[in-house]
Subunit: 327 residues, 2 copies
Amino acid sequence: MITIKDLAEKAGVSYATVSRALNGRAEVSETTRARIIALAQEMGYQPNAVARSLVSQKSSTIALIVPDVSNLFFADITMTVHKAADDHGYTTMVCNTSWDPAKEQEKLKIMVQQRVEGIILKPTAFIKPGILEALSLPLVLFWHAMDDNLSYVEVDHAAGAQMAMHHLIEKGYKRIAYLGGVETSPSNQIRQMSYQKALQEAGLPVDPRLISYGSFSLESGFKRLGSLMRLEQPPDALFCGSDLIAMGALQYARNHNLSVPGDLGIIGFDDVACASLPLVNLTTIEQPRDELGEAALKALLDEISVFPKRTKQRILIKPKLKIRSTT
Amino acid sequence: MITIKDLAEKAGVSYATVSRALNGRAEVSETTRARIIALAQEMGYQPNAVARSLVSQKSSTIALIVPDVSNLFFADITMTVHKAADDHGYTTMVCNTSWDPAKEQEKLKIMVQQRVEGIILKPTAFIKPGILEALSLPLVLFWHAMDDNLSYVEVDHAAGAQMAMHHLIEKGYKRIAYLGGVETSPSNQIRQMSYQKALQEAGLPVDPRLISYGSFSLESGFKRLGSLMRLEQPPDALFCGSDLIAMGALQYARNHNLSVPGDLGIIGFDDVACASLPLVNLTTIEQPRDELGEAALKALLDEISVFPKRTKQRILIKPKLKIRSTT
DNA sequence: CTGAAAGCGCTAACAG
DNA sequence: CTGTTAGCGCTTTCAG
C-alpha cells in the first residue's frame, strides 16, 4: 500500500508538503498541489485513516450497539442512524449483543478500544447507574436512563397508549381488554397505566379480568384472546402490547369466525412491516424508527461536542396512530 | 485517556515491559506481570486499537457493504456475517449504499482507507469487471462475479425453481403460471428457464400466456393474478418470483373467493418473515440467509489468508422448500 | 511557500 | 527477564 512518503519521493518534495497539499491547506503553491494530487491519483494513493486517527485523536467513527440487528425494529433504527451519521461524515460500527449482557460489556470495551467518538446503545437489560458513565465517552441510550447523567431517546409510550385508547373509545367500543406485554417491562407498565386512566376518564369500568400480561408473541395473543372469549362478558375490543400479540389475536378471531372490527376491534403497537400488509391490515400505534434513529444521532453529536461534559438530553418521540381495517 | 507510558511510569518499568505483560508474552516475570495487570485494571487502562493497528498493520476489522440494512433480507445477512465475524475476533463495519452506485464507490474507498482486512459486498448494480479487483483487498461478493478473479456466494436459483415446480407438479397442478420478477434480473431469468424445463420434463405444455414479469411487489402480484383469472383457461397454480408477489396474489384470491390451495396453489420465493405468519402461511422457497452470511464470511477469511492471491470461490447455497398451507 | 523534526500509542527487534 | 530504540503513516509546529 502506497504512502505519503512514496509520493514525496516521486514528487521530489518533503512528505510534509504532500500532506499539506492533499489536505487542502492554504500554505502550498497551487502548482505543486496540482502536481501532487495528480500523482496521488496516478499512483492510487489512499490515505491511511488509522495513522490519521492516531495523530488527530479523532476516528470519525461512532458505534451503534443493539441486541439484534436482524430484528426489524433495530434494523430500521440501524438504517437511520447509519444514514444520519453518514451525512455528518461519520462511519458507523454496528455491534450485536444477542441480548447478552456479557457480550454487551465486551462490545462496549471493544468500541472504547477502537476509540470511536461516541456510542449509541440499546441496553439488553437494566443497567446499573454509573457503570456506563464510567466509560467516559459520549453516549446515548435507547432507554429511560437511570439517575445518572446520560442522554436518552425513547418513544412516549404513555402518549401512544392514550392515542390507542381514545381511538377505540371513539369508535364506540365499551369493553376494552388490555393484552399487555411482559409484565415487568417498563413500556408495558407505562401503557397499562394509560389504559386504566383512559377508561376512567371515559367513565368506563376497569375490569381486572380484561387485563393480562405475557410475551410479546403471536402465540401469546392467540391464547389470551381464547381465554377472554370464554368469559361471561367477553371484550368487544383489544388494546395489544405489540403487533405480534395483536396478530395472534386476529388469527384467533379469523379461526373462530369473529368479525373484525364488527364483533371485535383490535389495535396493536409498533407498526412492524407485516402490520400494513393487506392480508393483515392491522390498526396500530407506530413507533417511528426513523425519528428515533435520527434523534439518537443528533443527541450523540451534541454529546460529542460538549464532551467530557454531558448534555443529559431526555427525548421522547411521539408515536403515531395508524388506522387500518381492524378497528 | 491513559496510555502504556502512564502505566510504565507508575510501575517503574519501561513501557516495553508493560506491553509485554499486557500482551501475555512469555518473557516477563509473573510477579511484574501481575503487578502491571493489576495496575492497568486499577487505572482503567484500555489499549488503543488504533495505535495497535498502525504498527501491526492489521485492523481485525472487516466491512460489510449492502444496499439497505433495513431490508429484512440484508438485515438477516448482516446479523449472521456479524456473528460469524465476531467468532473469529473481527469487528464489522456495516455500510449502506442505498442502492446508489456512487455511494457504493465512496463506501468502498472509505473502507480501504480504514484499512479493513476484507470486504463483503452486495453490489447495487452490475459491476464492470476489474474495477473491484483493483481494490487489492480481500473481497467476497453476494453476486455471480464476472470474469474477474473474485469470490462469490449466491443462492442456487435454478435448484430453487426446480424444487418449487416439482412440488407443484407432485401436488397435481396442471396449469402452472410463472409470475416472475423484474425481467432483466439474473435470478428471474434463471428461474424462468427452470420453470419451463420442469414443465417440459413433466410433459406439461408451456403456455406463454401464463408467463409474466414485473416488479417484486405485492401490487404486481395482485394485478397480474387478476389478468390471469380473466383468461379462458386460468391457471390452477402460481410459481411466484418473490413472497411479496405471492402475497399479492394470495390477497387477490381471498378477495375473489378463490380457495387456496383448492382452486389455486401458490408458491413464493425468499421466505421473508411474514410468509410464515399464520395469517399468511405461504408455501415458499427459502433463501437461507444464515448460510449465505456464514459462507460469505468463511470465504472472506480464506481470501484474507491467501491475500494478495485470490481463492476465487464459487459458492452456491441450496435453497429450501417450506411447505405451508397455500399448496 | 517548503523542509526538518517531533510525536500520536503501540509492537518488536536488539542488546544487555 | 528487562530496557533501549526504531519505526507504523500521518499531522503539525517551528524554522528557514
